[in-house]
């Protein structure tokens, strides 16, 4: 496309190629060996992202389409859709997460071994999307599990999923093993198990996990009719 969307929100992922100041700093801090090890580690992980074979709704079809001949997610080494969460590295939440389903989703997420990543694919997974007015629809999967990459669209094209996967690879390549900005899975204080909500009498309880998600301050436009 001629112009990139302004929403792409260029994230400061350090590129693997050019040695940036941050890399130099990292080198100085960690020493050559650890940095090289880190790069090897990140290279391996970023090139071997096995998604969980887990489809929720419409977006799952586009996710399957991304694995088919035309788009071929295999080129990125990510075609091994594992049916068991124990062997998966990436959870693509593809579709509407309902309140009845979210306990299972969180449980699946808990069953995945670290390091694990989550892509919220499509409007429904991000925010409830078109169905956010529904009483049984969760308004965004990030209320309960941490999401690394959001891909909007309803559903996003398979190319958009590939693009999201590449963004995730970039993010993985920029992760550090030590230091203040160490990756989440290397820190002991980061949660590895997330609270599983229960289905209550009127709603799920709780409605969000405060450890994962806090509602942002609203824009303050109260008063419009």
């Amino acid at each position: 496309m001629s112009t990139p969307a302004p929403t792409a929100a260029p994230q400061p992922f350090p590129a693997a190629g050019n040695i940036s100041d941050a890399d130099r700093e990292n080198l100085r801090r960690n020493g050559v060996l650890l940095t090289s090890l880190e790069e090897l580690y990140n290279w391996g992980r970023s090139n071997s992202i096995w998604p969980l074979q887990f489809g929720l709704a419409c977006c799952a079809i586009e996710m399957i389409a991304a694995a088919t001949a035309r788009f071929d997610i295999a080129r990125f080494g990510a075609e091994i859709f594992r049916p068991s969460p124990r062997q998966a590295d990436l959870m693509i939440v593809s579709g509407t997460v309902t309140k009845k389903m979210i306990p299972q989703v969180v449980r699946l997420w808990n069953q995945m071994p670290e390091p694990k990543y989550c892509i919220a694919m499509g409007a429904c997974a991000i925010s409830g999307g078109p169905f956010k007015q529904g009483y049984n629809v969760l308004k965004g999967v990030d209320r309960f599990i941490p999401v690394d990459i959001y891909i909007p669209g309803c559903p996003p094209r398979p190319e958009a999923l590939l693009n999201g996967l590449m963004q995730l690879q970039k993010k993985i390549r920029g992760e550090h093993l030590t230091g203040p900005d160490a990756a989440k899975h290397t820190r002991a204080d980061a949660p590895s198990e997330y609270a599983v909500p229960t289905c209550g009498a009127h709603d799920i309880e709780p409605t969000h996990n405060p450890a994962v998600w806090t509602p942002p301050v609203p824009l303050g436009r109260l008063g419009k009719g």
Binding site: M1, S2, T3, P4, A5, P6, T7, A8, A9, Q11, T68, A69, R70, F71, D72, R75, A120, A123, I126, S127, G128, G129, P130, F131, K132, Q133, G140, D142, V147, D148, I149, Y150, I151, P152, G153, C154, P156, R157, E159, A160, L162, N163, G164, M166, Q167, K171, P216, R221, K224
Partner: protein, 207 residues
């Protein structure tokens, strides 16, 4: 005989295997980031706001904050606040304009109803689909200045439709100008007639 069906199946896959090396019909992969399949003529991803002038996108928005799209949007992902004052629009007519125009792409379902119903040809569907974000509140909430795209850009993504819109707008503008001219002429004529008939005592109410 037992096994003949299996052998036939093996033959078909073998054919596909061989075909994947020389037959573009069979080798279907488009290697995405480097190669791209052309998007469909009417492909739509997220809405954009057309402005006349890329240099001053917010000043030349076609949008007049009529809030039809806000009301008709099925998932309610558009938020508009009207201005208090009026600014001349593309045709020079003073119009309201949106002070705030927000579209949440995290909610948008890309149905295109807003573009279909917009009477001012202001909201149109973009073709950009490579959108990712790491935060849905800062990354996917599009404000007025992010939504505004120039008419030239609109021409670049949908030439036929944009040309049609331009022609229609030009015709409307022409009609409006003519109307204004005619009105001015009529006014002048009337004034002249009035002036001719009697010295004016009251200011013309037709103004």
């Amino acid at each position: 005989m037992l096994g003949s069906g299996i052998l036939k199946g093996l033959a078909v896959t073998a054919k596909n295997f061989a075909g994947s090396f020389y037959d573009p019909e069979r080798m279907a992969t488009v290697q995405y980031p480097e190669e791209r399949a052309p998007l469909g003529e009417h492909y739509r991803s997220f809405p954009l706001l057309v402005c006349e002038n890329a240099a001053d996108p917010l000043g030349t928005l076609r949008c007049v904050a009529c809030t039809i799209c806000e009301k008709e949007c099925p998932p309610q992902c558009i938020y508009i606040e009207k201005s208090k004052d009026k600014k001349p629009d593309a045709t020079g007519k003073p119009q309201l304009y949106p002070v705030i125009f927000t579209i949440d792409t995290a909610v948008c379902m890309g149905c295109g109803i807003c573009a279909e119903l917009c009477p001012f040809d202001s909201i149109k569907m973009d073709k950009v689909f490579e959108v990712t974000a790491t935060n849905r509140f800062t990354g996917l909430l599009l404000e007025r200045d992010q939504l505004a795209k120039s008419n030239a850009y609109y021409h670049s993504i949908r030439p036929a439709e944009a040309a049609e819109v331009d022609a229609r707008l030009a015709a409307e503008r022409l009609a409006a100008e003519e109307k204004a001219k005619a009105a001015a002429l009529a006014k002048a004529a009337a004034a002249a007639a009035k002036a001719a008939a009697a010295p004016p005592t009251t200011p013309p109410s037709a103004a």
